[in-house]
């Protein structure tokens, strides 16, 4: 989230699309309810009328996988009806930037596409630079090569007829949503988007979110209270796990994983783009301080300037090669792994194409599962249609403590790092995860030390590993390490920090090895003032920022990009819901920002007399130019979102171009990878979702009798029309089948699903929750992922589990 949960109450219009907040983020409705009582409007856009839709002021249905068509129509509406916030657009976004002459989008393909590799050469996806190297601009937004005009041209095809014929949404419903939401383009109004896996789990997942980001920029909704682009995370700490670099492509703090593209530390530290504009903060130019401090945190005294602080000891990924979930299980299926540690997860039920995943696990020599209950993963060897005698995999199960049995922090969707204390001791042989990790590394170090023939032992032997107190994992030690220390006495701007002091904030981190930080973004979270995440002081008055409650990255900034919430004089667009404002009298008469922690201390862009202030910086400090990007030059599949059908789709034609599906989407080629579009055997669109009463694969909740009582069995929801077509009655047991697998489920026949009219034909859609598994309960059903395909977004490779093709029949 760029904003945070409580801030939802500040919104004037809340679009809930690609998520079902009432069911899957129920507490969010506390704040949505507050906003509604204040007069805010709530819009629910979903293939199925959900518990969220039941509370919304307006509901519109769309066929799964057509969000870009829906949102593209909104972009066209905003531009053509001049609903955009022009000052914001010109001053804070790249709308005025001129784009390279070579860039074009022709019939669904952007310039630079290579059919062979299914990749783009992005050389033309760039801005025209002036003699100083800064982007050329046209503040009138009239130049046909400026981003605004290119955007206008790109979405001119997204008219109501074409959008409606693609999404299946009635035209009047499209128009109503566009009108309601674009009303937030007015100065002082705020609109927000709440999205989740309904947007990400598509072959156009990233572009779904980019389309909305463009809308938020057009309407001036970024940085303001009640605005932003808000990802509702699916787990309590998934934001924290991303921040700490759990994914293959990043180290903690969103620093890229090293690859042969940067063979040395010097290469790595030079890779960020430079800005020639003195008014651009270009914050990533500070990356060397963060990377060196991270290496000092990893390797301690062993990291020296002479050995590039141990850069060579970091694992390198092959340039451009993905190592995502889909790829791991593809390689495993091909027999390219011997062992696998599955920690706190249940891949046999959670990953797309469960049949493939389960077959892949049988190719392993050993599998370690760390979990609180046995599930479909640790028990895969005795699963349905599996002969245990033929499975070679040796399975080890390590029971771990549950959340209330251990101390530590979680970082919620709103980027709040919140400390949790331990309520009770772990039961039986269960250990906290931290203890298992500490002990695992201790043993590894010992083994490498003893083994005289060990290959490349340095990374393991040199890892600084002092997170235990009296032999037990100490969460406070680790939290302090993440914050970072001064490693020698350092004087910065007349102030001397002593060796061993915790670094007060990332602005003080150094690139010379004199500081450490396990994650620069979390520098300021645990300082000599104490554990900031454990703070529990509520705000007495204000807009709900609660700056003394827990801690928020970066540097306790509750709403990021907040310097775009004010005009060029530093006055808030909305005085009643000011995030920050420039107070000329503050700071001993020099002026200072008051309110939230601003995106940098620099003064506003204009002085009080209207003269440009040379001491200012542009608000979007993480971008090289300092301006928010509507033109996204860095993505795998194009600078502007374009509608493509899901890999499995019910239509033979894309009404927007000749390109049916995302030309850069990955597919796989094992015997368990089958994809079927427009196949009469699988005529219906299938989608997956969650219910309020279960969590993820249900591994934690299926054993909770009260939750199981409320949602006992796998179901499939369908319209009355489809049920009639297939002779299915409400409550019947039915078979749901895709090209990859099949499932038995109870039919819920409902008016909340309606057939779509798409390209003049009737298209039916059904939906299935994914929380069930064969292990328990025995009559609960199995994972909906038996149906989903191994394909996904070309940028993130999150699987496309929200739109695929199925058949349904009565058993």
């Amino acid at each position: 989230m760029t904003n945070h949960w409580i801030d939802l109450r500040n919104s004037d219009c809340i679009l809930i699309m690609g998520s079902n907040a009432a069911e899957n983020h129920p507490i969010s409705f506390k704040w949505i309810t507050d906003a509604m009582k204040r007069g805010a409007k709530v819009i629910s856009v979903d293939p199925r009328f959900t518990r969220t839709s039941s509370k919304a002021d307006f509901y519109a249905a769309l066929r799964s996988g057509t969000d870009i068509a829906f949102l593209g129509g909104m972009i066209k509406y905003i531009i053509e009806n001049e609903k955009f916030f022009k000052d914001y657009l010109v001053d804070y976004t790249d709308a005025s930037f001129l784009v390279s002459e070579g860039f074009e989008c022709k019939d669904g393909l952007f310039s630079g596409y290579d059919k062979e590799s299914k990749k783009y050469n992005k050389a033309t996806w760039a801005f025209v630079k002036d003699e100083k190297g800064n982007p050329k601009k046209d503040p009138t937004l009239q130049d046909p090569r400026c981003v605004f005009q290119l955007l206008k041209t790109h979405y001119s095809r997204y008219n109501l007829d074409t959008v409606s014929a693609t999404t299946g949404t009635p035209k009047e419903d499209l128009l109503k949503v566009y009108e309601m939401y674009s009303a937030t383009g007015e100065k002082g109004k705020a609109g927000t988007i709440m999205y989740a896996m309904g947007w990400t789990q598509h072959t156009v997942g990233v572009q779904n979110i980019r389309a909305m980001s463009i809308i938020q920029l057009l309407l001036g909704n970024m940085g303001v209270a009640g605005g932003g682009v808000n990802a509702l995370r699916g787990e309590s700490n998934v934001q924290g796990s991303t921040d700490q670099g759990i994914l293959f492509h990043i180290l903690p703090g969103y620093l890229s994983t090293p690859s042969p593209a940067w063979p040395t530390l010097a290469d790595y530290l030079k890779r960020r783009p430079k800005s020639a504009d003195p008014l651009s903060a270009n914050w990533w130019q500070n990356e060397p301080k963060y990377m060196v401090s991270l290496l000092k945190s990893f390797f301690g005294d062993a990291a020296t300037p002479e050995n590039s602080f141990g850069y060579d000891w970091l694992p390198k990924v092959d340039t451009g090669k993905p190592y995502t979930w889909l790829d791991i299980f593809d390689e495993m299926h091909k027999g390219n792994f011997t062992g696998f540690i599955s920690w706190g997860q249940n891949p046999a039920a959670s990953g797309a194409n469960s049949k493939k995943t389960r077959a892949a696990l049988a190719k392993l020599d050993w599998l370690v599962n760390v979990n609180i209950f046995h599930g479909e993963t640790s028990s895969f060897w005795k699963g349905p249609d599996v002969d245990p005698g033929k499975v070679k995999t040796e399975v080890f199960f390590l029971p771990c403590a549950v959340s209330v049995e251990k101390e530590g922090s979680i970082t919620n969707s709103g980027r709040w790092m919140q400390w949790r204390y331990k309520a009770v001791e772990p039961r039986g042989e269960a250990w906290p995860d931290g203890e298992i990790i500490v002990e695992l590394m201790n043993r590894l170090k010992e083994l490498y030390k003893q083994d005289k023939k060990a290959i490349f032992p340095e990374p393991i032997l040199n890892v600084k590993w002092d997170y235990a107190t009296e032999g037990k994992f100490d969460a406070h030690k680790l939290a302090k390490e993440i914050n970072g220390y001064f490693l020698k006495d350092v004087t910065i701007q007349d102030k001397t920090y002593k060796k061993g002091e915790l670094v007060p904030g990332f602005a003080l981190l150094q690139a010379d090895g004199s500081t450490s930080s396990g994650n620069w973004l979390y520098c300021n979270s645990y300082t000599d003032k104490g554990n900031m995440a454990a703070r529990r002081t509520r705000e007495k008055e204000g807009i709900g920022l609660h700056p003394q409650w827990a801690w928020c990255w970066p540097v306790n900034r509750r709403i990021i990009y907040n310097r775009a919430s004010v005009d060029k004089f530093g006055n808030p667009w909305n005085k009643e819901r000011a995030v920050i404002r420039w107070d000329a009298a503050a700071g001993e008469g020099k002026g200072a920002w008051v309110g939230d922690v601003p995106d940098g201390p620099w003064p506003p862009m204009l002085k009080a007399d209207g003269a440009p202030n040379p001491a200012t910086k542009y608000p979007f400090i993480m971008k090289p130019e300092g301006f928010a990007s509507m033109f996204g030059g860095g993505l795998a599949d194009g600078p502007f979102p374009e509608h493509y059908e899901p890999i499995e789709c019910p239509v033979e034609k894309n009404l927007f171009s000749a390109q049916l599906t995302n030309p850069t989407a990955p597919t796989y080629a094992t015997s368990d990878d089958i994809y079927k579009s427009c196949d009469p055997r699988y005529p219906f669109v299938g989608t997956t979702y969650r219910v309020c009463e279960h969590w993820q694969t249900g591994l934690m909740t299926r054993w909770q009798p009260w939750l199981l009582e409320a949602q006992p069995q796998l179901f499939v929801e369908m319209s009355h029309e489809l049920a009639k077509l297939r002779g299915i009655n409400n409550g019947d047991r039915v078979l749901v089948e895709s090209a990859r697998g099949k499932l038995e489920a109870v039919a819920i026949v409902t008016i909340r699903f309606r057939p779509f009219t798409v390209q003049g034909s009737v298209i039916h859609e059904v939906g299935i929750p994914w929380h069930y598994g064969w292990v328990y309960p025995k009559d609960g059903g199995d994972s909906a992922n038996l149906l989903t395909p191994s394909t996904g977004d070309p940028n993130t490779r999150i699987p496309e589990s929200k739109a695929f093709m199925v058949n349904v029949k009565k058993i």
């Binding site: 129920p26 409705f29 506390k30 039941s54 409320a710 006992p712 019947d732 008016i751």
Partner: protein, 251 residues
């Protein structure tokens, strides 16, 4: 009228069922074995071990879009409870009104009573008997929590403010104020139970669209409350049978 009351604003209820689970947790009631009957609602009805159930009802709305109503069903804690009257002959102390809250409390002495008579006396079809012991159960208003300054478990857990609890007069004020607020969006909105119950529901639509027994018109003209309740209780035997038939068909 003193004592306490619930104000349940169904326009804010998202059917997360936190209340349903919290009730089971506080009262340590076992889960019943359920199967999916073609609905998100489960259990399908109240039982000896289920004092509170969120009922789901879907209808086609006036604009040809669905509406989905959620009704957290529980004992209404009548100010003059017909169940108490129905028990008085067989088990005079079987049911009492808690003096500070007005909660209707069933005691062990109710064993002596005719459970069928008590069940049929309830206009809202709430009490349920244990098949083995013949004992009756229902919502207790969490009196032991309330006496200790805590909110009932269901109210405490509600994330949206749909469940409120407090002094009865304050709840009356809150219900009326909220009704005035939602009238624009829901012209047919109404508050039920404000005259004679300790559970008020704010409904966006006709009560029958939420649940057969969501509300009962307990005070027809020219009849006092007691007489009215008795009349309803008498006709309820039929309703109850009718309900069972409907239930079987649905199941």
């Amino acid at each position: 009228m003193s004592g306490k009351a619930f104000f349940i604003d169904t326009t804010l209820c998202t059917a997360c069922r936190g209340c349903q689970i919290a009730c089971k947790q506080w009262n340590q009631l076992p889960a019943t074995k359920t199967t999916n009957k073609g609905s998100h609602q489960n259990p399908m009805d109240l039982s000896f071990n289920t004092y509170k159930v969120v009922r789901f009802q879907e209808h086609m709305g006036p604009d040809n879009k669905p509406v989905w109503y959620f009704f957290p069903d529980q004992c209404r804690h009548c100010v003059e409870p017909p169940c108490k009257e129905a028990s008085e002959d067989d088990a005079p102390d079987g049911i009492y009104l808690d003096s500070s809250t007005g909660a209707v409390i069933y005691t062990d002495k109710l064993r002596k009573a005719d459970t069928k008579k008590i069940i049929e006396s309830c206009p809202f079809n709430i009490p349920r008997a244990d098949e083995k012991s013949g004992r009756l159960s229902k919502c207790t208003m969490c009196v032991e929590r309330v006496h200790n300054g805590l909110l009932p478990a269901c109210v405490k857990t509600c994330p949206t403010g749909a469940m409120q609890f407090g002094d009865r007069d304050k709840m009356v004020t809150a219900a009326n104020a909220r009704l005035a607020q939602v009238k624009t969006r829901y012209p047919r909105a109404q508050v039920t139970g404000i005259d004679d119950l300790r559970v008020f529901y704010l409904l966006a639509d006709e009560p029958k669209n939420y649940h057969l027994y969501a509300s009962v018109d307990v005070a027809p003209a020219r009849m006092d409350r007691k007489m009215a309740m008795k009349r309803i209780a008498r006709s309820l035997g039929d309703l109850s049978r009718e309900w069972n038939i409907i239930h079987k068909l649905a199941g």
